[in-house]
Structures are given as C-alpha cells and as structure tokens.
Symmetry: D2
Subunit: 338 residues, 4 copies
C-alpha cells in the first residue's frame, strides 16, 4: 500500500497516520521527497484495505500494490483449472462450443433444438428458463418447468446443459438438475446469489457484468470460490461503451488478461457481445484467437421465430460453419477441438 | 416502429415482412425511396417490440418510436408524484436531505449518528445493515439485527430511515421495519428483487445502475410499479465512465431528463457520485440546481473511523454546511426546504 | 514513482532496475514484503516518467505519485488566475455568460445576434467562423470573412467575442482580430495547434475533449502555458458515455476537481453537454452551482433557422431567463454577477 | 428520415413542419397513430440532415435512416479496395504486418530497426518522426530530419514506410517522402489535416479516434476521399472505456462492422489497443481472426531502451513469433500471407 500525502501535510498529521498504521500491526515507511512525502506499507494489504485511510487529514491518495483476489489468482494456484461437465472438459487443450436458443420454447422445441445443436457439432446445450427481461411486460420464461424440459433434452441427446439462475431461492433446484448454472451479466454483483451458488458444487458460468472491470469480474468469481465452489468458468460477453452500432463492444482483449491473472477457464459469448447475427462468427473467432477455451452461442433453427434475441441468433447452417471455423483457428493457435 | 430494409431487399422479402406484421394485427405502411425502402408500423409498439424483426431476411434495422415504459411515464401520469415517508414529503416543493453513515456500526453508534444528523438538519436517516461489498472478505454488515438498531434510533429521534435490501428473502422483513427500502446500484436489474419490493407498499429508493441508461433505469422502476407499488423514488448516484480521478462521474444531467420523462421524485447521491469527501458539497449543489428533489449523503461524526466509505463521508460540520447551502440554492431556483 | 515488481522477480532483475534508476541520478528505495517487492523513487518524477520502466524484466507496474502538470497546477500557483477580456473579468468573483449562435450567418445577422445577446444580458459574444463539421458535405463556415463580421459586431455592441481556431495557419489572424480563441473539443490534443496559440497572448478557451480525462485536459492547457500564453480558460462541455438520450453527458462533477487542481478559470458549455435545448438551463445552473466561473451558451433569435446546432440552441426568451436564474444561483453560493 | 412528433402536437405545428419539408423539395408522409404522429421523409437525406428539425415546435426526435457516408460505403463501391504501397498490396488476399519502433531514434538506429523488422518478416516499416506527446515536456520527435532517416532506411532495406503527420504544413513534405502517411488517433477529427492529406495521392493510414464511433471513423475517411484521395486504410487501435488494466480496450469487434460498411482495407494496431507487451500477440491474432487485412505493431530490438512506448513494444523474438502465428491464423480463416 502506498499513501501519498498532500503538499502541505503537517508533522502532526504524519504522526497520526503512522500511529494509525502501527495500531493495525503493520510497518509504515516514510519517505520525504522535494515535492511529496509518501508512506509505504508492506504487509497484509487486506487489513489496511478495509481502513478509510483516504479519510485521514493530510492524505492525498492511497494506491494498492496487490490485486484484491486470492483464490482465483494464478499466484496462489499456478496450474490452469480444468472443469468437467458431463464428458466435456472445459479449460483443457480442447476448445468447446455450447449452443442453444436464448429461451426455452416448450418441451418439444427444446428437444428438437438440442438435437440440432448436437448435430451441428456443439458439445453442450444452453437455453434460458428464467429470463431477465428489461421489460416487466416481456415473457419472463418457463421457470422450473423449463429446466425440466432441458433435463428431458439431455436424456434424449446426452448433451449436458447450462441455464441461468436469477434468484437465490432457485439455486438448490438448479444445482440439482442443471449441469452448469449461469450467473447473468446483470447479476454479476448480486452477492447473495453468488454466495448461494458458492455453497453448491455444480459448475458456475459467471458472465462478466456489462460494465464490470476485470478486477471486479474476478472479485465476483472470488465470492463463489470463497464459499467452497471452485468450479467457476469466466464468461466475457461484451461490455458497454459509447459505440452504438453493435449491442455491446466485443471484449476479446479481456481474454489474455483474465488468463494471465487467473487459473479459471474462459468461455466467451460472441452473440451478446455483438448483438447482430452476421457478426457472431468473426467475433467468436476473435475470442478463440485471443485464447478463449470455448464459446457459448445463441442458435435457433429459425431465428425469426425465436422467442427472444432473434436478431443475434445464428441458424443451423451458421452454427455448423462457426464450429468448423472455430476448430480451424483453434488448431492454428495450437489448441485442439472436440 | 420503423423498419429500414437493406439496399438489395427483394419483393418476396418485403412481402414476407408485411405479412408477418399483418399477422400481428398491425398495419404496415411501405415507402420506397431512391436509396431505401422503409416500413412504418403505427400502433401498439409493445406487440411488435417482442418480435425479432431484425432476424427477418432483408431487414437492416428496426427503430422504436415510443419509449418502452408506461406507468413511470409522465405521458400516462402528468402530475408529479409526492411520496410521504413519515412526516417527510418527497417530490413536493420542499427539498429533502437524508444522511447517515455508510454502514450500521452497532446500536449505540446508530442512535448517536441519527441524533447527529438530525441536529445537522437532515430529515431522514440512512445506514446499511446489508452491505454489498466488492470483496467477500470485507465485513458484510449487521443484517437484520442492524435494521433493528435503526428502529431503535427512529424511536429516539423520530427520523424515518432508509436501508438497503439485497435479497428477495429479506424484503418482507424490511418492508415491515424500514420506512423506505433501497435497491442498490448493483441490483438495479435484479428483477426478482424488483418484483418482490413491487409487491410491498413501503417506498423504494431505486439507485441508478452505474452503467444503466436512463431508459433502463426507468424500466427498472416500471418493474416495481407494474407489481403495484407506486412509491418509487429515483436515485441518480453517478455513472461509470473513463474518468479516473473521481470514483464515478456525477450524473447531474440525468436529473432534468428523468424529471421530464417521469412523474416520480428524484433524490440524488453526491457521495457515491464523486467518491471524495471534498467534492460532495459542490456535487450536491449541482444536483439540486439541476432539479433534484433532495439528496442522500454519507455522513459520520468521525469519517476516519467509519467502517466503510470513509473517504467519501462528510463529517458533522460539513453536513451542516451542506444543508445550509442546499437550502440557499433551493430557494434560488424557486424551491422550498425543510 | 512506485515500481511494483512481479512475484517471481530475481535478484539480478532487481539489481538491473536499481542500476537503471541510479543512472538517472535518482535514489531508489527497495522494500521487500511477503507477497511483493516494491521500489520507491522519490525525486523529480519527470525524469523517470520518460523511461519505459514497464519494459524492464521483473516489473509488474509503475505508479506515478505526482500529477504531470506544473504551470496549470495550484501547487505552483496558489492564487486563482483572473483573465481580462475587454472589460470582462473571467475567474473573478463575478459569473460571466457568453452567448451567440453556433455559426456565423452573414454580416447583418451577426450584428443582429450580438445585439440580441447583449440585450439579454450576456457579456461576451460567441459564433463560429471556422466550423468543424462531422460531414465533409456540411457547410464549413465563413472562415476569415466571418471573423471580420464579428469584428463589425463588436464595434456595434462593444461586446468582446470568442471564436474557434482549427488550423495553425489561422492562429496569427485570429490572435489579432478575436478577443479570445477557442480550441474545440476535437482539437484538444492537436498539439501543433496548442503550441501555436501558446505563442500568442490572446486568451484561449480550451474545450475539454469529449473523451479526455481531467489529467489530459490539464496537460493540454499545460502545452499552451508552456509556450508562454498564460491566458487559458478551461471549458468543460460534456463527455461521451454510454448514455444515449442526451448528446453528451454533463460533466458538472469535473468543475470542483479542475478548480482544486488548477488556478485557471472555468467556463462551461451546457449547450453541447446536453445537446437538447430544453435541458440547457438546468445544466447551466448545475455547472454554476458546482463552481463554474461562467457559461458559454448557443443562442439564436430563431433556433429553427440556425445554420447548425438548432436543436440545442436557446432562443432570446430562454437566454434572458437563463441569465436571470444563473445570477440567482450565483448569489446563493456566494458569487456575484455582471 | 423519420420525425417523431410530441404527444400533444397541434395541427398548426404539423402543418408548419410539413411546409418546411416541402420547401426543401422533399415529400413528407404523415402517419397518425394512437399514441404518436410521425412524419416519414423519403429522399435525399443529406438535404434534410442539415436542417435543425429538432428545433421545430412539436418535434420530439428525428431519426436518420441512411448512413451519412457515401464514398467510403460499400453501397456505392461494392468491390473491396486494394491499395498498393511499394510492392505491398493492402486489402488483398494476403495479410500484411508493418512494424517498427514508436519513435525514430537517430539515423543509424532507424536503419538497424528496419533491417531487424525485415528479417523478422514484416513487409513495411513504421516509426514516428513527429510525435504527439501528452506532455509538452516530453521529446517531440526528430521531425522532418527523422523522415529522411526513414528514407535512408528504405534505400537500405527496400521496405516502404509509414509515418505520422500532425500538421497541415507538413503534409506536402510527407506526401513526397513517405510511402504512407498516418493520421493519429488524436487527429482523427482534425478536419483541416484530413482535407490536406485528401489533396495528395499518397496512401493514408487513418487511426480510429480513441472515442470515435464507427460512424464518425468512416466520416473522417469520407473527408479524405471527398478531396480526391481514395487511398485510405482504416486502422482500429483500441478505444477508451472504463477498463483500467489495459491502456485501451481492444476493438476487434469493429473489424467485421467496418468491413461490412466500407470497401476500404483495414490494418489494426494491437500495440496501442492493449498497451502491454505481453498481450500484443493474442490481440493481434484476434484482429486477424476478426477479418483484419493486417497489423501495425510497435517493435524494438531492446524495448527497455526505446524512446517511448517501451512497455507496449515487442522485441525481435516476439515480432518473429507474432508474424509466424499471424500467418497460421490467416491461413486458418482462408487468407494468405506474405
């Protein structure tokens, strides 16, 4: 921790700050320069992070030295984590594609969709039963019933599935029935939900908040690991910026950063990142080239009839094409594929 | 709704789109220009908003004409809403200041803090019992016990209080004991929580998500009103931008926009908007000058000992000064004050 | 300067870094903690700022302690600067309003507009002769001829005027004829233009780049002062964010920050900050309440006939009303007005 | 053009708007719905774009239908443009890597650097002679002398070079000596500079402004083409967002959008996009996978001794590795390479 003092700081103020730090059993080192006095504190930054040092008279700013996360950090866990979902290994040498419609559309449709995406070459199925809709007047999803449709589809196709959880009261149910639970972008900092999924052992796909910094994204993963669930997969899905042609801004640049800072696997969502169907393939390839362990993609046999997100949903042919191209790029960068 | 077609759209594609719109019992009007063909659909935009028209072949883009919110809109409710919390009227001619520490720090402290902020001239007390902390290793708050400390403080001082709710399972408890429930910035799109507070009648202070557009902010309010709770107060509290000196970027410009679009009262939070104590007063005055109905401010008798957010917390003298200046600016723009 | 080393840094790497710093005649101090080693360098940060220390093996990150600007800083110039333009003092106790159309519209119109804004109570006239238009097909302005129209209007009304300079080749001409030269938001980091106006003594109104941090904004002012021209006025004018209802996002929060860091006067532009006429007055009042020394406003007797920016241009009645309200708020916060 | 009218618009206001549009020789079509009246105008949108329709009484908002650019658009020029610089074809089937140090560091160094990057497999050399530095106290570059060093290096190595132009007064000189002129991110909307390079025929590498929307980026290219210079290469180089670990945010998602909207070639800059050397390779591969026609990379034999930008500069081994990997990914997506 580095504490920069104000230009006119008094000796009394310095003494008070030094005393405060010593009272926390930490060891401050004061350096006085021509323009500024600074205090360096080496030691357990967690203790001092909680203190409102910026509120002390004479302090101009406080700068952290260490990153605030531990369990998700490669510093404490240098080997890459591989998470097994059914037969699928996520974070290993092979790149994985998960696909499916935005929302569950009835039992028969779900089974048909799962078959379609399996035939196209995807290894996991995705669909939403609980839907976070911007409007209260939009269809809010089939709920628990919809989850059971996916259970049926899994029985038919053998594909494990991932589906979103929005409410702490649904976590137990989903942890029991789903192969992987998704925390959506709007709930990335819903800490009570994070804690609840942290108490389970079912893998969690944690989507990046659309305005979350990488540090915050990893701190949300830390919440889950801190509760005991180490099966967390990080999911960049675009961020919000000033650009207005695409729905979000592709955050392919976050992939190498997250992979350097953390040992957790990274699966990316090019559908939400772009929001426009024709851009899903190049966006997906960019994520893979940047080092992602796989993709999660919205796909529907007939996007114009999809219950939601049709404009960013690829059809069967596009999904097949996407997977073929992902595999080629994966090989080009020394990865393998299913 | 305006549907812009692609340059090379075929007649078959146009016919298919027109048919699709007619099947929704809406009336499309096709205009063909030199460079583009467009289809205008006048009528109930809600019906068509749910359709993935952008997924139809030949469609370049779809532009909404109407704003998606209803109950929060001034179009359906032209009079300004005034919400009564205890004796305090929010949204009326008088500007209101609410204040208190970031977090509850024990029963005796809460009572002392409430007395202090009352003496300084604030009309409502605020403190957090459930704390959304970025780190799982930070203190997570006193929980329900902390709420009862505030009940005790209310008994002592007569000041109504507002406190944050983070979990749908706590809503009933808080609706019963608190005078106003706060939805925090990270939960602005936690729709299950919004629905739960919507089922109560206790007033709700809805903080703007740090990356939420004004449209999304109002749609989250719409969620609460749609469930029956009309006592919603909108709370701008700064947004996240590229600027890095302040914690957030003051969104004073959102105040006149929100007040033109909606009839709901607006209380602003200059403490989080700036994140630095010395800027809280000018930021608060800017919000008031822009038309806010009041402020919610973090205040503590001794900010350097505050459990959290000390760097943005004003002390007793600053709070007294802030309230005096808020009252002067309020009068200058034709408002009144308590 | 604080240099944070990587977890596995070797002694050789540390020695190399220390040597490098000593070769710059600076004094490094190495502190070794449990998790990290850091090197503190106290002294002239300018010397070290130029060095690519982050490129040295073993370095994780480099953190500055001092702000990079000098001449604009209150640390080197504690008294507030007051700049005189004609009879008008900018940055003194009195708040100033400048107004006029976006663009010059012919000689007779300019004279009429100047009379109108004088009658409404504005103290300086503004209009654009050189116009930075997003489209090459839009009218690019009257150029030098348009400047002479404003000279004529000044002769008629006595009002000093400010107008934009876009090209280094026009600086001498403008420095001679205009009372104040404006550097537009798109040219805030056009360093050759900054240097050129820095060689003059005519006051410069420096608009904040729409994506510039406050540090960068002040560094651009530093460019002008470094050339010898100390008559710089800082002009916040809204920044670009994700919000899409308003043209820009009001940056009233930048006002107290800039006024704490710098001694230069601050004149704000609520017209561009909002981009919608009906929000100009509340935005202007917010800037003033936040501490601005004045406003620059787009005004036109008949905005629907304005050559450009009509949608954000106030009319005569609104300008008169704005000035009356600005004066009231100015008095409420202890300022005076013309 | 679509004009949405306010809820309470009067017949007089509608008549006035209709008349205004007719006076522009355009044909308005009024549609009256339950909640809103709208006016559609089909025809030459350029005429109406210049009119401040939002300033007319009764108008709520105006929505464009057409994109504002013409010469850069694929609609008016469906074939992809290929630009020849020396023997190098940019925008053809083969992917191109350009490389070199941030800044020119003396004649001998430039020649050495050009040899190094040629040996590593790059096809064009880059270096800055005119340097846009944030601080006026930083080294501002060798200027015209530095350009001549690059001319010498070209003579030695045969590699064409690109270098930045910052001042309209240097355009002629650079157009004569350089193989390609770069417009930097801070000058993307320096319209006088754009016009000046537009009058030449030397190819122009136009960097995206760090906060420019894709529309604005293409409009800046339009400025150059409108003057007659059709040899424009678009250069995404990262944008500014809230993320603070990397210097900028990789804008790989802009590549497919720009390639769909425009026929111009796209060369991307992963060095500035990330700002950290270790991320340059994955970022470069992401750009290529997204469809870029090549990369421009900062490379130096010894980044820690580079005059500037050392922290984001790759060394010789990294550059060689980058080019090998770029070629593999290029082939994987069906492109070729030099």
């Amino acid at each position: 921790m580095l504490i920069v003092l104000k230009p006119g700081v008094t000796q009394d103020e310095i003494d008070h700050i030094v005393e405060k730090i010593k009272s926390l059993k930490l060891n401050p080192h004061v350096s006085t320069g021509v323009q500024r006095t600074i205090i360096t504190v080496i030691g357990d930054e967690d203790i001092i992070r909680e203190q409102p040092l910026e509120a002390l008279a004479g302090v101009e700013s406080v700068k952290s030295i260490l990153r605030p996360f531990k369990l998700v950090s490669k510093e404490t866990h240098p080997d890459r984590t591989v998470i097994k979902v059914g037969d699928v290994e996520i974070g290993g040498p092979r790149v994985v594609v998960m696909a499916g419609p935005c929302a569950v559309e009835g039992e028969a449709a779900v089974v048909e969709h799962a078959r379609m995406i399996k035939k196209a070459g995807a290894k996991m199925f995705r669909a939403g039963a609980f839907k976070p809709r911007t409007s209260p007047y939009s269809f809010q999803g089939y709920g628990r019933e919809g989850v059971m449709f996916m259970v049926a589809a899994r029985q038919e196709t053998g594909l494990p599935f991932v589906t979103e959880v929005m409410d702490p009261r649904d976590v137990e149910f989903l942890a029991e029935h789903a192969d992987m639970m998704q925390i959506g972008t709007r709930n990335m900092q819903n800490y009570n939900l994070l804690k609840e999924v942290g108490r389970m052992r079912t893998p969690v796909l944690l989507k990046r908040g659309m305005n979350a910094t990488i540090n915050e994204f990893l701190m949300s993963a830390e919440y889950i690991l801190a509760q005991g669930n180490r099966n967390v997969i990080l999911c960049p899905r675009g961020i919000r910026t000033f650009e207005d042609i695409t729905r979000n801004t592709l955050d392919a640049g976050a992939v190498p950063v997250v992979k350097e800072l953390s040992h957790l696997p990274v699966i990316c969502d090019p559908s939400h990142a772009m929001g426009i169907r024709d851009y899903v393939i190049p966006a997906g390839l960019a994520y893979i080239a940047a080092g992602a362990d796989g993709l999660i993609v919205e796909a529907h046999p007939n996007p114009e009839d999809a219950t939601s997100d049709g404009q960013q949903t690829v059809n069967y042919e596009q999904l097949t094409d996407l997977i073929a191209r992902v595999n080629k790029v994966a090989k080009a960068i020394g990865r393998d594929c299913y």
